[in-house]
Amino acid sequence: MFLARNPQLNSNGELHHLLSTEGLPREILTQILDTAASFTGVTQREVKKVPLLRGKAIFNLFFEASTRTRTTFEIAAKRLSADVINLAINVSSQSKGESVLDTVANLSAMQADMFIVRHSESGAPHLIARHVSPEIHVINAGDGRHAHPTQGLLDMYTIRHYKKDFTKLVVAIVGDVLHSRVARSQIHALTTLGVPEVRVIGPKTLLPSHVDKLGVHVYHDISKGLKDVDVVMTLRLQNERMQGSFLPSPQEFFKLYGLNAEKLALAKPDAIVLHPGPMNRGVEIDSTVADGRQSVILPQVTFGIAIRMAVMSILAGN
């Protein structure tokens, strides 16, 4: 029998690139979460770095602007003692007409060991992963509407940190699922890790047409969708990805789907609230919730560094 090989795995079934949480076995997701946990102690020490990736060259290739994600990857790489080179491609060669693969070939010739790729086109990191030489690793830092696996993984880390066991949880993802690569990465990771009930909540215009095929329950009424959930994952309203009329106005969206204290009260009393950042306060989330006792939004940022350290060190060792 011939099985199409997952492009993320090497011939030993180990993680070679991280392109998506889709199709990764639970064992690998758990390995990443466990490794991240072992890194959390490092940042509390006198010397906040380990020598694991000493002498490795990691290129942050950002074809789409993102200060925060780029910075967390940079911090993670530096805490592993790697050398980090940041390239904002939209303002360099691309504007001179060089293709993505030419850019990557040139950087490979500069002895790169790992590429962290952010691109507005879905699939760009896959394309790069297919064309780099076999010793180079690629991490997807967000591609179009497709995937943002390290964000999905840090969300899983956050949930595990507060809720311990995935197999008893009801998790709701609220908002603009249609344009969200984060939501897709969350859904695949949640189902693989054994969360029995994943709900997506949003207006019809902001949910992908066949989202139920991913094994989630679809709600258009947030008061029903949030009932007794353990985890509420809010999404950023992606104004910059919207062309045409997906919703009447941000105010209207806030009224119907914005997470405020009243709506959150429908969830379990100990429910936690996540947001991938940057937040549009007063659009998808109210400040009283974002800054409230159930919010774990800032811990998410801290855990994000440990997750990215884990992914880089696992890839570099495989």
Partner: protein, 176 residues
């Protein structure tokens, strides 16, 4: 020489030997740091036997190993926990089996990222020779000669009793 032909000493007796060796050399300021997992079990035991005050530290030096290039990151790396200030501290690093010395090198490097200790000494339940680095233990339960194809493993029973066992060596073993 097969696994059955080698007689291993009783780990509980070695704990007693080690405790007696260490007792005159520890003060209330001394802290133990056990290397996971066998060394951490042993450190816990020695901590109790010696009646030390400071809590035990545990160290998983996987992020400092010199074989990361060849072997990658091992599964199940544990978070190191050093629950005291390392600066100016008298430390005793504790491991179950002292072999190549590479684990100890990695552990010392990691400890220095917590601060500058006053001193680091080394206690090992078993020294099996085979050093590849200039590392020596100040406190040793027993010196045992074991062929390279075998590995010595510390085990802990449900009631906390420690014992030694021989297992076929995997390629991880030259690490120790």
């Amino acid at each position: 020489m097969s696994e059955n032909a080698i007689k291993l000493p009783d780990a509980e007796q070695l704990v007693a030997v080690l405790t007696a060796q260490m007792r005159p050399h520890v003060t209330p300021q001394t802290a133990l740091v056990g290397i996971v997992t066998g060394g951490a079990w042993l450190a816990e035991r020695l901590h109790r036997e010696l009646g030390l005050v400071l809590p035990c530290g545990t160290l998983d030096a996987s992020f400092y190993r010199d074989d990361f290039q060849e072997k990658g990151l091992k599964r199940g790396v544990r978070r190191s926990e050093i629950p005291f200030d390392v600066e100016d501290r008298e430390l005793i690093l504790v491991d179950d089996v002292l072999y190549t010395g590479r684990t100890i090198r990695a552990a010392i490097n990691e400890l220095f990222d917590y601060g500058r200790p006053a001193s680091i000494r080394l206690a090992a339940l078993v020294d099996r020779g085979g050093r590849e680095l200039p590392v020596a233990a100040q406190f040793v339960g027993a010196v045992i000669d074991v062929p390279a194809q075998l590995s010595i493993e510390l085990q802990r029973a449900a009631d906390g009793r420690l014992s030694l066992a021989l297992t076929p060596a995997t390629n991880q073993d030259r690490a120790g």
